[in-house]
Point group: C2
Chain length 436, copies 2
């Protein structure tokens, strides 16, 4: 793999709660340039709403969950992918220089990736000031990292305060070529069965052919960690905000960076309290409306479409907002929007938890919550592209599967009684409603 | 799809306990014939050890789990597959005449299947004498159906007797074009949390191009039902025996039927009792040795290789036997072998249950069992081709997912203490042992 053909990318994100977030974030096609190639690239990347036609060496920055891919092209139906067998928990190594063993052999409709170099992450004893390889405080990437790490701190603090018992266990890790992450998991607390709030910075390199061939495949797929409460009347929450940036080949100085934002926050209760769901959606709408009145309706529908368990004909929960590939707005505006969304997690969620965490419940309520957790597992293991890609390619298993609930249940042919509270939840998952 | 190009196939099977059984059962390539094509076909199907070169209209008969595919070609890495959206639980309709909407458009490396007709099964109030469309008592298919239905009866009777409380709930169903099944599920019994023992007869039709193009893909994929006991010292059992038969195009009278057998029985304990595992494997070996001394070592290894959870680097359990594509022996001999295996389920398993079902246990033991059940879920949802294919294509969800345990658990970064009983089980799942 010639260096000049390599594209590095770079991502950071932070998430709460399980399940994949990225549906349609696409890799970029940034070949060594000719005018025709540049024009072709513009056409090819148009689905990612990319407007720049020149390229130069850059990197991609995204805030992501604890799952980190150096190489964010998952296998799709038109590709074959043969990773190096990885019986132990490993990460892709994110550094370009180290990837001599990474080979992509794309042809027009089938990409054969003959080998993927997989390296273990390195545990760190303390949090670095930044996981960025190179950064300036004014860079969007640096500001996004700071924002997402601040969000991690504030969300974890709010959860520990509400839990009044459980403490997050923190794992800090890095990779030799740059990047790293902070995974925090609170397990078996007073309020939450399992809560994960992670931040990561991921670097990766791939040849432009792979970007081109994989343009229809999602890019920086990650499942999110979890906030699964114990009380069946207290809902599960998931969020993930990320920033993605690519570099063009190093011998094309002056080419602009490609970048985009993605993210979302969604709520998964086992029982519906109208006021809770309205409060949650209103908070999302309020954050959206500060930037664009079209955001909430558009991202609300995107969320309903995304968290769809096709084989059940149900959504995983009651939605929220979800967006991806966002770059057709001012970059500063989108950074502010992502910041607003991340900062809305606590006010959207914690008041609901405070209200429901001590509600008395029976075994019947708990069993229904566990059945809905089973749906969560189904979504994450069957549809979550981050999870399925991570499992296939040797990502760090504990980080990938932290999104699964502590416990889940499957009953044969369970059907809630028509008109019951369980039936109402199921109905709202089958037929998404407008909550506000 | 011209009728003359259609191949019908036909399968029946019976299973206990979860997870996919078929690893490498391959569809046949049976084109409208020319001498060259026949020779080519022989080469192509050699991986299925098929020896016949002529073809005529037939059907395929397999005994399978409760999951039934009329069209047993799952998507593989080199195919794309776009089923009709199916928000409700549906079956493929298995009748050739009804499949005008089924279209396969294969090219050499990519098959596009533009639509798949999906129809609901029809619930029946009583069990028919046979699910076969046409049969003679002396046919292998008819004798296999009788054998597998007898096995269902005897296994269910043994389970109810050992459970001393739980009773199987039975669902009988048929399909308009022929075929059907009997699903039996015992849930929340005294001994078993969830037990499913199902029989089905499946008919399907597909054009020869699809067989050819999909030859590397598994054919009659099905997850098996479950026998998940409550006591953490009592193991889960899974078995599935099936017979598969194909017809050549109807305008080529006199062509021989293609057929093969597949199956296996495997044990998944949470704790190892050497004597139990030895008893289980000895029973499998005894059944195998009656027919061929190479069977047990070969099928034991096949089983270890098959039930591999790649992302964990672990097997699901402690194995047993697994085979597929078996047709390079005398057909009568293989029918006797499958019968012997099916009849060995009760003596291999029930004595272990009787010994362990009342063993005192703690929350610690139960939590470990639940973690291992989590692995069962991971295998079935991530690797079980029957499950993943069924979920993607609209199979009957409750039948597909009956293999999932009643409950399962995921703890972040759980590691059993080295040398503990939990560690010993994990070690044996990572490093398969010779038990006898």
């Amino acid at each position: 793999m010639g260096k000049k053909q390599a594209l590095s990318h770079f991502l950071i994100s932070s998430l709460l709660s399980p399940a994949l977030l990225l549906l349609s974030c696409r890799p970029l096609y940034l070949p060594p340039v000719s005018a025709a190639a540049a024009a072709d690239r513009r056409r090819i990347v148009s689905s990612s709403s990319l407007k720049n036609s020149k390229m130069r060496p850059t990197a991609t920055l995204t805030a992501s969950s604890s799952l980190n891919y150096g190489f964010p092209i998952p296998p799709s139906s038109s590709t074959s992918f043969t990773p190096t067998p990885s019986p132990t928990n490993c990460y892709f190594h994110p550094c370009a220089k180290k990837f001599s063993s990474l080979r992509f052999k794309p042809n027009k409709r089938n990409i054969t990736r003959s080998a993927v170099s997989i390296e273990k992450e390195i545990p760190e004893t303390e949090r670095p000031i930044t996981f960025l390889r190179e950064s300036e405080g004014a860079d969007v990437r640096a500001r996004f990292e700071k924002m997402i790490r601040d969000a991690q701190d504030s969300v974890c603090a709010a959860i520990e305060a509400a839990d009044k018992g459980g403490k997050f266990k923190e794992d800090v890790w890095s990779r030799p070529g740059g990047g790293g992450g902070i995974s925090r998991v609170l397990q078996d607390g007073a309020v939450w069965e399992k809560a994960g709030v992670n931040v990561s910075v991921v670097y990766g390199v791939m040849p432009p052919e792979a970007y081109r061939a994989a343009k229809a495949a999602p890019a920086d797929q990650k499942p999110g960690p979890v906030l699964h409460p114990k009380n069946p009347f207290a809902p599960t929450l998931h969020f993930n905000y990320r920033y993605f940036e690519t570099d063009a080949p190093q011998d094309v100085p002056g080419a602009p960076r490609q970048w985009w934002f993605g993210g979302g926050t969604d709520l998964t209760p086992a029982y519906i309290f109208d006021e809770d769901v309205k409060h949650f959606h209103s908070t999302q709408k309020k954050a959206c409306d500060k930037f664009d009145p079209t955001f909430y309706p558009r991202f609300k529908k995107w969320c309903d479409d995304y968290f769809y368990i096709k084989h059940r004909g149900e959504r995983r929960g009651l939605g929220g907002i979800f967006f991806d590939d966002l770059n057709d707005y001012d970059q500063e505006m989108l950074l502010s929007f992502a910041t607003e969304c991340a900062n809305s997690v606590v006010p959207a969620y914690i008041p609901i938890i405070e209200k429901r965490k001590d509600t008395p419940f029976t075994d019947h309520h708990k069993a229904w919550q566990q059945l809905r957790r089973g749906r969560y597992v189904e979504f994450n293991l069957v549809y979550d592209r981050g999870t399925t890609f991570g499992l296939k390619t040797g990502g760090r298993i504990e980080s990938i599967l932290v999104s699964l609930p502590l416990s889940a249940r499957w009953e044969y042919d369970h059907k809630p009684e028509v008109g019951s509270e369980e039936w109402k939840l199921l109905d709202a998952c089958i037929n998404p409603k407008e909550w506000i």
